[in-house]
């Protein structure tokens, strides 16, 4: 590591505007050299005041230095400039989690996942916070799709920002993948809306996808949510559409109850 620090420091001396300060600050931070990391981050910020990744690094260093309120302000500033910044959502989520505000922590972690659904550390953090949240909730949330045929295979209600609201989806080997699917569905919906707009297809009504190992149906139960129903290939698309219709009605009932 010392060699890495030396090499990056030399690069920074040679080219003070180099972005290598981001990695150098991170390496120093991870090594516990908080003061050195802070100096590197602040020097970098002088050169690149608009670089949100530099602000994100600085905020993490502030957390290491126990200056939590300052870190919160920095991350909030990052999110004003870039509302989808994954690092800032993870950071703010962590601060909420530390304070015991699990709902707010989950909100930010889900937004972090929506920014990059392939980031495994976000998935792990989300699962960890969700496990804690489930252990402290005495009453299970009402299952909007209880009694639906094959409900465990995949009926998932999500919001337009890619956050799971109710239901579940199982991926390969029966793994719970609702958070990943929810994040991907936000991207699918944005693409559908753009496609419908540019090809003059009008308002989108539904999407059917027949895939190698299953069929899926996506509909908007209301303006703010999406419903994803997945079944094995042996359920034809037409029957899947009927099932999705009934699930949509159940989703609307559940959503209305949440608004009351």
């Amino acid at each position: 590591m010392a060699d890495d620090v030396k090499r990056m420091t030399a690069e920074l001396v040679r080219d003070p505007s180099s972005l290598v300060f981001l990695r150098l600050g991170e390496v120093l931070r991870a090594d516990g050299q908080v003061e050195a990391a802070r100096k590197v981050a602040l020097t970098g910020l002088e050169r690149h005041p608009d670089l949100v990744d530099a602000h994100d690094l600085y905020a993490r260093i502030l957390v290491d230095a126990d200056d939590v309120e300052h870190a919160r302000r920095v991350w909030n500033g990052v999110l004003q400039l870039d509302p989808r910044h994954q690092g800032a959502h993870m950071g703010v989520g962590f601060l909420h989690y530390s304070r015991g505000d699990l709902d707010a922590a989950l909100d930010h972690l889900e937004l972090a996942l929506a920014a990059d659904p392939t980031n495994k550390s976000v998935v792990q953090a989300l699962h960890a916070v969700r496990d804690v949240a489930e252990s402290v909730v005495s009453e299970e949330p009402e299952d909007a799709f209880a009694g639906f045929e094959g409900q465990d295979r995949g009926i998932l209600l999500v919001d337009r920002q890619g956050r799971a609201l109710n239901g579940n989806v199982l991926g390969t080997e029966g793994r719970d993948t609702k958070d990943e699917v929810a994040a991907h569905l936000a991207g699918v919906t944005q693409e559908m809306e753009r496609t419908a707009r540019m090809l003059n297809l009008g308002e989108w009504k539904w999407l059917i996808v027949e895939a190698d190992n299953g069929n899926a149906h996506l509909t908007p139960p209301d303006a703010a949510s999406l419903l994803w129903v997945v079944r094995d290939r042996d359920m034809p698309s037409g029957r899947l559409a009927l099932l999705a219709d009934r699930a949509g009605a159940a989703a609307r009932t559940w959503l209305e109850a949440q608004h009351l």
Partner: protein
Amino acid sequence: MTRTYAVDPWVEKPLATFVDEAGARLALLMTPAGQVIAQHGFTRAVDVMAAAALGAGIVASTGEVAKLLDEPLFSVLNHQGERHGILLGGFDTPRGRMVCLAVYGPESSPGIVQLFFEEFSRDVRDACPAPEAPKQVLAADFERELNESLSALFRT
């Protein structure tokens, strides 16, 4: 942070829309001579200048190939690599020909970038004000204008 900066403010909105819709990571709008009009995603002036010079070089080279083939100017050139692709496209505006260099990742595609490049070129043409009267360029003015352009492109 990745932001869109332009020497002329009327370019900012079309370029920001193009970057957003096409999923471009870096974008540069310039004249065929390599003079930068707007940029998105670059954090260092030296990178902008290098990209503009290389882009202008490619435009000049393909222009010569087009001449050899007795073809009109090529409008779009698209290269797709393993992790990144680049689009280099030219279009005419009331202020003369402009060239766009866009770098995109695997989350986008040549088709998407090309589609929104067409929209972008139309938006720029629509937003472009009438050409200014030509003025004499002195060496000192040139240096001052270059510095002003760099300031605008990086908000320094």
